[in-house]
Amino acid sequence: MRRVVVTGLGLVTPLGADVETVWANLLAGKSGAGPITRFDASDQKCQIACEVKPADHPYGFDPGKRVDHKIQRQVDPFIVYGIDAAGQALEDAGLTEMDDDLKLRTGCSIGSGIGGLPGIESESIVLHEKGPGRVSPHFVHGRLINLISGQVSIKYGLMGPNHAVVTACSTGAHSIGDAARMIKDGDADIMLAGGAESTINPLGVAGFAQARALNCSFNDRPTEASRPYDKDRDGFVMGEGAGVVVLEEYEHAKARGAKIYAEVVGYGLSGDAYHVTAPHPEGKGAELAMRMALRKAGLAPGDIDYVNAHGTSTMADTIELAAVKRVLGDDLSGASMSSTKSAIGHLLGGAGAVEAIFCILAIRDQIVPPTLNLHNPDEGTEGVDLVPLVAKQREVRAVLNNSFGFGGTNASLVMKKV
């Protein structure tokens, strides 16, 4: 059976624009949240977000590093983030120079939950105010969700499977899981897999606020707003960015002497079949996804040392925790579980991939990142190590990573040390 390992990582997040900076900031307990600066949010119910910082910030993002000036002008930010993260991952894996044969065996599976909402918003205004003759000729392909995979394949000449998942906030996890299957099935030897999002624009913020999903009560204390499992949690904080991994067939990675971070051993998927935005109150779908991932991994509950929760800082947190308890046991069989959305916000379609990378780094460094702002744990959290406030050094052999999305779509990944 073909095995799939991770050999490269790339991140663009509100805590930094490279893997080591993001990880150091995350472990140090920093928050990426702040007042919205991207536009005037004074008339919005929610006025805070976790924005990717500008290039002149100590851990800001310089789009010019890996994305051509012309492309930056033509596409939405989620595509720029995705191209950069994919470039980082390829560089990390030592795969920037591939021969033609390998390019035929290398593909992309980089999705997004929503896609180019800021550009859809601004071009709608152009259409309304100036007419159809002023709509950009780059409007469509600068907003399409599969255009990260498209742009990356063009930039690096990758002619393997070209795919893009769209499953709301499960996108990043599904992208990695689906890409791992493509390698297992022999469709490719290498896949760039992940997700990206950037919807911190008036329409995106208003839409999520109207759906009662966003935190609107901490506008004066942005870094305290994302507080998964805390009694005072009141909705998620929107984040943005991208996470991309290089997945590679194990023998292929070994033969070229690649650095191997972890193995993708389990992938579970399910549907809630319940409600468009609310999770099933008993977390049945979440439980099914986790059980499937563990079964595929051939691991027992006691083998999991860390769970990176979906944990959005909404009422759904306790539903997820109850489901995790049913799968792993009331004390999670000794596993630690944290929500890194407390630090970087909810990256929506990018979340599952970024959080998978945090899981991989937890395996590499044998340390688990904290849940920030967890001062008063909600009922039902007793006896569970939610890694409050401070990162924790501990043994991390295998990890479980959960992602759940609107529409009731669930994905769980299990990864372990090789």
Partner: protein
């Protein structure tokens, strides 16, 4: 004349992300400046905005160099 040329060149530099000294008057958008057909559509729109001219599709199709653009604008602007 030179005013039009400078403004055209500025738009080309901004839209195509090329070095200013490459935007000579006889430079071809596609062959010398790395544009594709959609980039030219976008450039033509930017010229229309900047100079308040209408550049119909059949005229736009004939604009292939920087000097073609400058010439058309000078002949048609109000």
């Amino acid at each position: 004349m030179s005013d039009t040329a400078d403004r055209v060149k500025k738009i080309v530099v901004e839209h195509l992300g090329v070095e200013a000294d490459k935007v000579t008057e006889d430079a071809s958008f596609i062959d010398d400046l790395g544009a594709d057909s959609l980039d030219i559509v976008e450039l033509v729109m930017a010229f229309e905005e900047e100079f308040g001219v209408e550049i119909p599709d059949d005229a736009a199709e004939k604009i292939s160099t920087v000097s073609d653009a400058i010439k058309y604008i000078n002949e048609n602007k109000g």
